[in-house]
């Protein structure tokens, strides 16, 4: 077990980190744009629609281009969350832990959420590809898209819990992330859990267009990005100041 070259040895340039960090608000803007473009989100589509109603949604000449363009943007940039998660993993490696195990746990979760979101956009694009297909087939692709998009919260739940543990166990005078971010991450994880059960309900707060499975879940993810984005920015700037002082 040879001593490895520390990735943060003094004097080594970390330029580029800020670029990745500031990609978050830019991407956030694009995600918001795509969100409001997709006609199925602003008034979330009900799972109680019949196959014919779902087919009519995709056949509507006003909807079809908005479905396609919004999903192309989501497919392009949904995975752009990964660089920000990688920056968080870098900060986890600086925490006062005994082992890198929690950062391995976090890294293991990073790809899952964006991958599943990307698969969901493919199902939406498949439903929109040939709207003349039988309504039952369109409904099945629409179901696959919504179930994948709504219920696949597992990686986000696990990565929030692992991050909460990492912050809690970062036992040093000035921890990398503020201590209150540990319970904050646990609260976000808890807010995402109801969406996992969305397929059980055709209406009400748990249905995929409901207040818990749609609004609470998506607002929790947005809030997490804003809060963790700010905390990450502070941590990176502090790291740069410390390095500049040491140089």
């Amino acid at each position: 077990m040879a001593e490895m070259q520390s990735p943060q040895s003094p004097g080594q340039s970390v330029n580029g980190e800020l670029l990745l960090l500031w990609s978050l608000p830019v991407m956030g803007l694009l995600w918001a744009l795509a969100f409001f473009t997709f006609p199925g989100f602003v008034q979330p589509m009900s799972p109680a629609l019949t196959a014919d109603q779902v087919a009519a949604f995709y056949r509507d000449p006003h909807n079809l281009p908005r479905i396609r363009y919004s999903m192309i943007v989501f497919n392009w940039f949904g995975v752009a969350l990964i660089p920000v998660l990688a920056l968080i993993a870098m900060q986890m490696r600086r925490m006062a832990h005994h082992t890198p195990i929690l950062s391995y746990c976090f890294i293991g979760c990073i790809a899952g959420g964006p991958t599943l979101f990307s698969i969901a956009t493919l199902y939406w694009l498949m439903a929109a590809f040939r709207p003349e297909r039988s309504p039952e087939l369109i409904q099945m692709f629409n179901d696959m898209a919504w179930v994948t998009f709504t219920s696949q919260v597992g990686f986000l739940v696990a990565q929030s819990v692992f991050l909460a543990l990492a912050i809690q166990l970062d036992r040093q005078a000035r921890p990398i992330f503020a201590r209150w971010l540990a319970p904050f991450n646990l609260a976000i994880a808890a807010a995402l859990v109801p969406a996992a059960f969305a397929a059980l309900f055709m209406d009400g707060p748990f249905a995929w267009n409901g207040i818990l499975s749609f609004w609470l879940k998506n607002l929790a993810i947005a809030l997490w990005m804003v809060v963790m984005g700010c905390a990450l920015g502070q941590a990176i700037h502090r790291q740069r100041r410390e390095r500049a002082a040491a140089a």
């Binding site: 490895m4 082992t99 293991g108 979760c109 099945m140 179901d143 179930v147 696949q152 739940v157 036992r171």
Partner: protein, 269 residues
């Protein structure tokens, strides 16, 4: 930074009460992070077993040769189990990464290149999506609308079970990577026989390939070869590696002066 990290590892003896011991370990046990990961693995595999074998009845799998009405009947018989059980998997299935992370750590402690550890970490980060979640999604979409066209229900049924048994490469290559690391390792983190056992586990992924072709008999996804032999090997394999990981954690030495205590900056491991 370094000064802040240099906190004492040894501390006063743990209290005698159960709660007191837990509090002491939370505060002072240098292996806490490893134990948290280990217990997460234990909880995950127990819930995984209950959901797949008891709640959803998707293991042992229903027959590949069933007629469409019989498949629809299977969805109807297990409607609530599928929706609730896989909801539980959707909520907590990703905690399986604790297992990936602990095994990655074990490979990092071996005398082999870190490339083995990172290969394992990346392969198994991918594993859950095709190997578990696509299955659950297809079966949940089937169970949520039982009045769907039976032909589509049959497609969802096939998609579910072929994704589950037919996701082979990740586990095949992953087991071989772990096996080679164990066999080359001079630090003896894992016993050599477990390296060979990994090869056994990899071979089951070769044998199972017939399940994407055969619809009945021993080589179908529910058959004696493709399911039962596989499941027995995988079950024993999982039990064994969980035990060996426990033994590894018990052996790890973080006391002052030991080699690991020199590496308290985590990226040194």
């Amino acid at each position: 930074m370094t000064a802040a990290l240099a906190r004492p590892v040894a501390a006063a003896a743990p209290a005698t009460s159960r709660l007191g011991r837990i509090a002491w370990n939370w505060r002072h046990n240098p292996k806490l992070e490893l134990w948290l990961a280990w217990y997460t693995i234990l909880v995950f595999y127990n819930i995984f077993g209950i959901v797949f074998f008891v709640m959803t009845r998707s293991q042992p799998p229903p027959k590949a040769w069933w007629s469409l009405p019989r498949m629809v009947q299977w969805f109807a018989d297990n409607e609530w189990g599928l929706l609730v059980g896989f909801g539980i998997i959707f909520a907590m299935g990703a905690f399986a990464t604790a297992s990936t992370a602990l095994i990655t750590y074990s490979i990092r402690r071996m005398s082999v290149s870190p490339a083995f550890a990172y290969t394992y970490l990346i392969l198994y980060s991918l594993a859950a999506v095709p190997g578990m979640l696509l299955t659950c999604i297809a079966l949940v979409v089937g169970a949520m609308r039982l009045d769907r066209d039976p032909a589509l229900m049959g497609s969802l049924y096939d998609m579910g079970f072929i994704a589950f048994s037919g996701t082979m490469g990740i586990f095949l290559v992953g087991s071989v990577i772990w096996a080679v690391a164990i066999l080359l390792d001079t630090n003896r983190i894992f016993p050599r026989w477990f390296g060979y056992f990994n090869i056994c586990n990899a071979l089951t992924e070769v044998v199972v390939a017939t399940c994407v072709i055969e619809k009945s008999g021993p080589f179908a996804w529910d058959g004696i070869i493709s399911f039962y032999v596989n499941m027995v090997v995988f079950g024993i394999y999982t039990g064994v590696f969980i035990t060996l990981l426990r033994k590894m954690i018990e052996r790890e030495d973080f006391t002052a002066g030991s080699p690991l205590s020199q590496h308290r900056r985590p990226h040194a491991i």
